[in-house]
Symmetry: C2
Subunit: 443 residues, 2 copies
């Protein structure tokens, strides 16, 4: 009988491993894609690209199997050679080539000059050729950082006793968001794509007390702005046995602190490539919705137009205000008006026209909506009735309250927006792997 025993050591080394001094002066094997060829006549530099960086190889010996003139960007190769220190090369090392084996060849030359430091192509052009444009090491590093954010979210929440869940994205008609839902036919029945795991995560609080999910959500909004997408990744959590809705803001702050540490520790290379300064998360100021509106109105001489919501420009000014007054990168805005929050939001007992809710602004942009939820069955039914929300299709959601739920609350973070603000990009499509908007369904 023949067996598979698990991962085996291979002869070829990663670029990260080559940084280890023990290999200096020895013959090593490396695989990679040819990122750039710089032919200087006598010698040529062949730059290889792997997920963990770039590697300079030096072509000096004209007796090699493959002529340097045959080597093309986009080919993948397996090379052997002597590793040596070279301060001017990426990572301080280079390989003097002794053999080259071509693993695969492209059909055509690349349509973008991916080996440049900054791609000169427009956002549209880069998105059209997304999988090629991301071969540029600065472009791709945005998504490595995005990995770090999600990883931090999960690791932190595991530590905090949360359970990860996977809830369905196809559902029956939902009570939330009517016009914003994508509709489909599900075996001759009408169905929708979930715009949030809200109801499911609340239902699961009755089971696991604390739950989270990282997954896609779908919004058929006809927005065409720099900060809206029709499909995005939501980092959702919901936690039971809260004492105060501030518990939820504390949990988010804890996550941000964990995330910043993780990025600093494990994603330094990407932070440096993009020249990112990590935000200040040791303490995050909070301010009520009403107070925030007044503060920016006063300081920036701006009339309050809509008393029930924050306009994007107002969010920007709130961000600016707290940066100027307090050097803060983040600010929690609390107590949003009840009429602008969903039916399940818990009203503030001190003034039920406001809710025990919050948004988190990061450099003046909303990246999170959260708050405490109603946990009492009768209170929930009353609020639904007052808002004329149909109970039809909501019975299973209401059942968990009927049979008892702890006080709870939660939040949802837009992953692509958080990434955008962290990087300082000005369009959420920059930090979305394959964006979906009204015009974009491919790639």
């Amino acid at each position: 009988m023949k067996y598979i025993y698990g991962t085996m050591d291979h002869e070829d080394l990663t670029i990260s491993k080559l940084q280890d001094k023990v290999y200096i002066g020895t013959k090593v094997t490396v695989k990679g894609a040819i990122h750039a060829v710089r032919n200087m006549g006598e010698i040529a530099f062949v730059i290889l690209r792997r997920w963990d960086g770039l590697l300079q190889t030096v072509y000096e010996d004209s007796s090699l199997d493959v002529s340097v003139n045959e080597l093309k960007e986009g080919e993948t190769v397996c090379v052997r050679g002597i590793l040596r220190e070279e301060k001017r090369a990426p990572g301080g090392i280079e390989i003097l080539l002794t053999s080259i084996l071509v693993l695969s060849k492209p059909k055509e030359t690349l349509p973008l000059d991916i080996s440049k430091w900054k791609l000169s192509a427009s956002l549209e052009a880069r998105l059209d050729q997304r999988a090629i444009a991301l071969r540029n090491i600065r472009e791709r590093s945005k998504f490595k950082l995005q990995e770090g954010i999600v990883r931090g979210f999960r690791e932190f929440l595991y530590e905090q006793g949360f359970t990860e869940i996977h809830t369905p994205k196809i559902g029956a008609k939902s009570a939330e968001g009517g016009a914003n839902l994508f509709r489909l036919e599900y075996f001759h029945r009408p169905a929708v794509l979930q715009q949030s795991p809200q109801f499911y995560k609340q239902m699961m609080v009755g089971v696991f007390d604390r739950v989270f999910e990282t997954g896609p959500v779908f919004r058929a909004e006809k927005h065409n702005t720099k900060r809206h997408l029709n499909e995005y990744t939501s980092l959702d959590l919901e936690m039971g046995y809260v004492e105060n809705f501030t518990d939820i803001m504390e949990m988010e702050t804890g996550f941000l602190q964990y995330m910043v540490n993780l990025l600093d520790k494990d994603y330094k290379k990407e932070l440096d490539l993009l020249d990112i300064k990590l935000p200040k998360v040791d303490e995050i100021p909070y301010v009520t919705f009403t107070n925030a509106k007044e503060l920016v109105s006063e300081k920036y001489h701006r009339k309050i137009k809509n008393p029930y919501d924050l306009e994007p420009e107002e969010e920007l000014l709130i961000g600016q205000y707290f940066k100027e007054e307090d050097n803060a990168d983040f600010v929690f805005v609390t107590h949003y008006p009840s009429k602008k929050r969903p039916f399940y939001a818990m009203d503030d007992p001190k003034d039920p026209t406001f809710t025990l809710s919050f948004d988190l602004l990061f450099h003046g942009m909303e990246i999170t909506t959260g708050g405490q939820r109603i946990h009492d069955y009768c209170e929930l039914c009353q609020k639904m009735k007052a808002r004329k929300i149909e109970v039809d299709g909501m019975q299973k959601y209401l059942d968990v309250f009927r049979y008892g739920m702890p006080p709870h609350g939660g939040l949802g973070i837009g992953l692509e927006r958080l990434t955008m603000q962290l990087i300082g990009d000005d369009n959420v499509r920059e930090t979305t792997l394959f964006p979906r908007d009204q015009g974009r369904l491919v790639p």
Copy 2:
């Protein structure tokens, strides 16, 4: 200015923390849901439930604020009392109550006796009341184990240099699987839900060499079996620079080894609750498709009906064969016929009627499909042409090959099926949080 500083210590303790001897004999505070009340007259046992287990509290003092007769299952409470050792209680501890504060009350008594060791309700009834049925601690522990599987997948792959990606679930018409696609209207354009992240993960191999995704996939198949779902969670990976398609099987074996260790280390409580014996993963036998067919045909005297595919019964017998002959829980079946594999599968150069592909069977059920893919642009185009697959809508996918791709391969694991086989359940709905099948769109 007021600030949030991150997570704070709260007075109430988790059940896990109470296991620490230092609290024995002290006054402690705990929150939880009343899981069961056993009133013995003189004293009563009030069992609390939290995510980390059950806790026995003892009601002896009739002078407490709340009468024991008022306490009902499904209420959530905050209790105080003296912690003491009690061998007969869950976890070997109990609390002698000195105060009870009711946090929330249910409207009605529970429709299922969740405090029983085994829920007696049928699968249908349990799925109808899923969020209630899962308050049974054995039922819910299946999903804690499922968390462990996903966690193991990600942790192992991070270690192996993989990058996590998030690919869109709404897309334009796909070349794969015509009839199996859910269709929707996307801003007046026809769109589909992705049945797999296959094309995207291949495209990202050109960027990050090794990528993975854990997310929902959608299949409009009209199957109604114990092992099919119309939406499920797929654990997908794709890796570049493979030397042989066995590299991919080695990676999967490495994941299973990591997962089994993680479950053994961090999910012992759940394994014990469900009485699960972890499978053997130190070495996994592999056998060709053709050979496997012959072996079971011979041993179990079964005629080979379909030479191009494995019937479910045949998979079961292959599982039985390797269990009997080799005490194996898993077996890789390799070299599936080319005509039964997708166009992007790499044919075996030794015999192009077969592919460099595999399925992994776990106790006789397919839980993974994988293999090496074609990386050469011209070869891919030729195979598409031979199969009369339209290039329309596939250009962006083909572009990554046009501009160069390393030799690569990957796999997809059905999370719910893997969980089902690990637990030994006989229906994949048992291990799906909120299943979607032809009849089930709620909850």
